[in-house]
Assembly symmetry: C2
C-alpha cells in the first residue's frame, strides 16, 4: 500500500486505528480453545467485527511463533483471509527483525514478498545494526519498514535515552540518521504512546513521517496527548491498541465487545481528524 | 546446556567452532534443489560431516523464514535430528529478537522451550529495547541469551560506536548495563570478528563471559587475532563460520568439502587452546 493509498484509507474510514492481533489461546473464549484453527477463527471474528473502524492490523509474530509451526500456519490463514477481503487494510508484521544486509534481505522476502506466505505491507525493524540491516526492507515497491525509535516499555530508558556528547538521545540519532535510508513513502517509526510528550521532539526531526504508536490503552498512553503532539497534515499517525480491543470480553461476545472498544477509539479519532 | 557442559565440550572436541546453517536453496547442489526436504538433507549432511569438529550449530532464522512455513518445517526437522544424536552440541537460534517483556516471553517459548518445536540452547537478541526485552530469555534453566554488542556489518558504525558524554561507545554501555541482567551462565555477547581489536575493550568489561564471534571467513575476520584478544581461561569464545564451510563446494562433495574447511579451523583452534 502506498502512502497516498494509506492517507486515502484514513480519510475514508475516519480512523487511524491499528488493531494488534496479539492472539493468546489462553485468553480466547473456551469454544475456540479446543478448535484446531481457533487462533485463525478468533482473528477472523475480530477482523469481521472491526475492519470498517480501523485501517491496519498488526499481528505480533511472537504470539504465533510461541505456538511453533501450527501458530505460523494460523497466521498464514489470517493473512490469506485479509488478502481475500474487498476492503483494503494495511498489514504490519510486528516482528522487530534486523540483521546484516544479506540476512535482512531474507527477512524482507519472508514478510513482504507478494509471492511469499504472508505478504505484509510493513515490518517492524530494530535499528541497532544500522544501515545495511534496514535498507533491504525499503527496496520493495509499495512496502514499508517501521523502525523502532522510542518504545513504550520500561527498558526503553536503558539505551534509547542515552545522550551523545551533544546531548542528543539515541532515539533522536536513530531518527536523524535513518532519514537518509528511505523516504516518507517507505519508512515509518515506532514511537511509544507512554512517552507522548517526546512526540514533539520526534515531530521536529521527522515532521512528515508516519508514526506507529503502540501503548495506547493497556500500556497506559493517552490518545488525546498523542494526537496533540503527533498529528500532521496527512494525519501521520497509526495508533495501535491490542489487548484493550481483542480481549475486551473473554466470553462468546468477544467480537462484539471488540467492536464496541474499536468504535470508541474510531469516534475519538474522527474528532481529532476534524480539528 | 550449562556453562560447565559447554566448557567440557570445548575441551573434549578441542574446538570452539560454531557452524552457521545459513542454508540457501540456490547454493545447494542441484540434486538437493529438487528434493522437497532438500534443506534438511543438506543440513543433515553438513552435521554428519562436521559434528566431531565443532561444538555448536547456528541456523540463521531468516534463511528459513524466507521460505515460509516450509522453511520452518525443515528447520524443525534439522533440530529434531540434532536432538536425536548421541553427540552433544550447542544450538543457537540466530534470530535477533527482542520486544517488550510479555512479548519476549513468547519468543523465549518459541525458541528455547524444551517442549516447543525447536528447543534451542540459545537465542540471539538485540538490546535496543532494554532490560525487560532481554530478561525473559535468562529465566529458563540451562538456556542462554546471546546479546548483540558489536556486530560485524557495515552498519555497526551507525549507532553501536556512538559515544555517550563520557566517551563510552554504545556497545560498551550495552555490555556494562546488561551484566546486571544475567550472569556468565546464561548470557553471552555477539562481538564481530571484523572488529577484533575491540575485543580487548570487550574483555575488559566482560572478562568471563562467552563471546559469539561471527564474521570469521567470508566477512573478513582473522581467527588468530580473535584468539589473541578474546580467549580466556575457560576459552570464552564460540567462533562462527557459515558460508566458508557450508558452501566450500557447490557440487555433490559439499559435505566432504565442508568437513575439510571445518577441520582446518578446528586444528587452528586446538593450537590456540594449548597456548
Amino acid at each position: 500500500m502506498t502512502r497516498q493509498e494509506l492517507i486515502a484509507l484514513i480519510r475514508q474510514r475516519q480512523s487511524f486505528l491499528c488493531i494488534g492481533l496479539d492472539t493468546d489461546p489462553a485468553k480466547m473464549p473456551s469454544h475456540l480453545q479446543t478448535d484446531p484453527d481457533g487462533i485463525f477463527h478468533f482473528n477472523r471474528a475480530i477482523i469481521d467485527a472491526t475492519i470498517d473502524l480501523c485501517i491496519a492490523y498488526k499481528p505480533n509474530l511472537a504470539f504465533y511463533e510461541a505456538l511453533g509451526l501450527d501458530g505460523l500456519r494460523q497466521l498464514k490463514l489470517t493473512m490469506d483471509y485479509l488478502h481475500s477481503l474487498t476492503q483494503p487494510v494495511f498489514t504490519i508484521a510486528d516482528a522487530k527483525r534486523g540483521d546484516i544486509g544479506n540476512t535482512s534481505e531474507r527477512y524482507a522476502r519472508a514478510f513482504l514478498d507478494p509471492a511469499g506466505d504472508f505478504n505484509f505491507d510493513a515490518l517492524t525493524v530494530a535499528p541497532y545494526m544500522g544501515i545495511d540491516s534496514v535498507q533491504p526492507f525499503t527496496a520493495i515497491e509499495g512496502k514499508w519498514v517501521i523502525l523502532l525509535a522510542l518504545t513504550s516499555n520500561r527498558g526503553a530508558a536503558d539505551f534509547q535515552l542515552t545522550p551523545d556528547p551533544n546531548g542528543t538521545p539515541l532515539y533522536q540519532r536513530v531518527l536523524q540518521t535513518s532519514r537518509q535510508w528511505g523516504n516518507t513513502g517507505n519508512m515509518m517509526y515506532v514511537v511509544g504512546a507512554t512517552q507522548a510528550t517526546m512526540l514533539t521532539e520526534v515531530r521536529r526531526i521527522v515532521p512528515d513521517s508516519f508514526l506507529l504508536v503502540p501503548g495506547v490503552g493497556a500500556q497506559g498512553g493517552s490518545l488525546d496527548e498523542v494526537c496533540r503532539n503527533g498529528l500532521n497534515a496527512d494525519c501521520g499517525l497509526i495508533v495501535n491498541s491490542s489487548r484493550g480491543i481483542i480481549y475486551a470480553s473473554s466470553g462468546a461476545d468477544f467480537a462484539e465487545a471488540a467492536r464496541a472498544e474499536a468504535l470508541k477509539l474510531q469516534q475519538q479519532m474522527a474528532q481529532h481528524l476534524h480539528r
